[in-house]
């Protein structure tokens, strides 16, 4: 088989490379910028870049899930948390914990592990992308035929996380707002979280009226 060379890149490969550069750049800015919200927004760029990479690899389904889950939900959750606690406009030097060397070491180690793993797994395998390799049907079949066990294990993990979240949020209830009935809490952990978040928000407002980004009185009437 005639192995394609690296010296005659196609258009898609060039775009892939450029997107990769943008993604890495955005990721680097996200961890080095001193403005908290900017970091979250650069994270959007990095995650979006990864989605574009998936698209270029014809893994359409994974790409849209990436956008849906990471850009649409995780970053919004992140921004929500930032806005609730502290999101000053401008630099926030106090947010730097001074663990930079350790963080760098961990990042490098995990990156090395992943790269080694991927390189070792695929070696010189060449996948032709002339027909979609990751469309919905392919992914679905792979997920539910070959990888059912890991899939189920993952869902179990998520369930455990869910239960854990409920337990953690229940522990804080006695002195928090009046405990809601248990069934509702089981059905809607996020709602509880949102309520608790609101309660904490109101507390923040009372404790630190001078903070620049703490919402004022209107929040109180919401409950």
């Amino acid at each position: 088989m005639n192995a394609p060379g690296f010296l005659s890149p196609t258009g898609v490969e060039i775009v892939f490379l450029l997107t990769g550069l943008v993604t890495v750049g955005a990721a680097l800015v996200a961890v080095t910028t001193r403005q908290l919200v900017h970091a979250a927004l650069w994270l959007v760029v990095a995650l979006g870049g990864i989605a574009v990479e998936y698209l270029l690899l014809t893994a359409e389904f994974v790409a849209w899930v990436q956008v849906l889950i990471y850009v649409g939900s995780v970053v919004v959750l992140l921004l929500f948390g930032l806005m609730l606690t502290r999101a000053p406009i401008g630099r926030s030097p106090d947010a730097d914990s001074g663990n930079r060397p350790v963080a760098l070491a961990v990042a490098l180690a995990s990156a090395a592990t992943l790269v080694t793993l991927v390189v070792d797994a695929f070696r010189t395998a060449w996948i032709e992308l002339d027909r979609p390799q990751g469309d919905t049907q392919t992914v679905g079949e792979a997920l539910f035929r070959h990888w059912v066990l890991p899939f189920e294990a993952l869902s179990l993990l998520l369930l455990a996380a869910l239960v854990g979240a409920i337990v953690v949020s229940r522990r804080t209830t006695p002195d928090g707002p009046a405990g809601t009935p248990a069934p509702e809490a089981v059905a809607a952990p996020e709602a509880r979280k949102a309520q608790d978040a609101q309660a904490q928000d109101a507390q923040d407002a009372q404790e630190a009226p001078g903070a620049s980004d703490v919402p004022g009185a209107p929040e109180a009437e919401e409950r």
Partner: protein, 319 residues
Amino acid sequence: MDFLDVAWRLAAVLLAFLTLPLLVGQAEHKVMAHMQGRVGPMYAGGFHGWAQLVADGVKFAQKEDVVPAAADRRIFRLAPAVALVPYLLVLVAIPVAPDGGVGQVVDAGIFFVLAVLGVGVLGQLMGGWASANKYSLLGGLRTAAQLMAYELPLLLSAASVAMAAGTLSLPGILDAWQWWWLPWQLVGAFVFFTAGIAELHRPPFDAPLAPEEIVFGPLTEYGGLRFALFLLAEYAGIVVVSALTAVLFLGGWHGPFADGLGWLWTLLKTAALSFLVIWTRVAWPRLRADQIQRFAWTVLVPLALLQIALTGVVKVVFA
């Protein structure tokens, strides 16, 4: 698929994107006025004020471009675009007529549409934060909370249709659609449409904007063309959510003479749903932020799960 074909389709989508939201906006002016015993705009353009929104656009374009001194300038300026562009992208994937009457067939159409819709809300969040205004921040917080609450029922009810059709592609779903899906997916349709309205922050779910309370939330500091872009995003959102509901739950182009008049059926269904969106704005008061959360988690999510269970049962028993 040659170049001309692609260009023609993109031009058609762009045209729809530029006209349909204005149509909905004008319809809102007139319908709302008549529901309140008024007549609405009457002069712009001569005949019953048909050009009112054009006049508004000219006015917005003439206004000064103000950025608050304490704002994060770049993000403040970027936010309207982030809020608007996703809706344009979504329109590309919505099928209008049978046999290729769609801007671009997307394999995982539902996921694409919902993912990109979620990105649109990010624009409001950015605007809310970057305005350096407490009302805006408060609105941004509510926006985020509302998005997180309503994304789930939206996805679950869409998943129910995907389960029924056995595909994630929007034209594929329409190809599989039968009339009896209407009662079968009725609950899902309710959940999807309601959650869609909530994601757009349309009344009665407009606590994040709440002009009387937090002065339009994330939009407080915006004026001129940027505010117009946010408004356009809202109306484009109405079009998109109505069209999606029509496609997923009301059978899109299905109807008498679907071969020739399929596009008309899609437009009619979209228009009827848009009318419903306007109607609820006139008829119902605004929900409080906590009521919005409770409604999402205690009503819509269980209903959506129920619909999925129903879909699964019917699918297994009858197919």
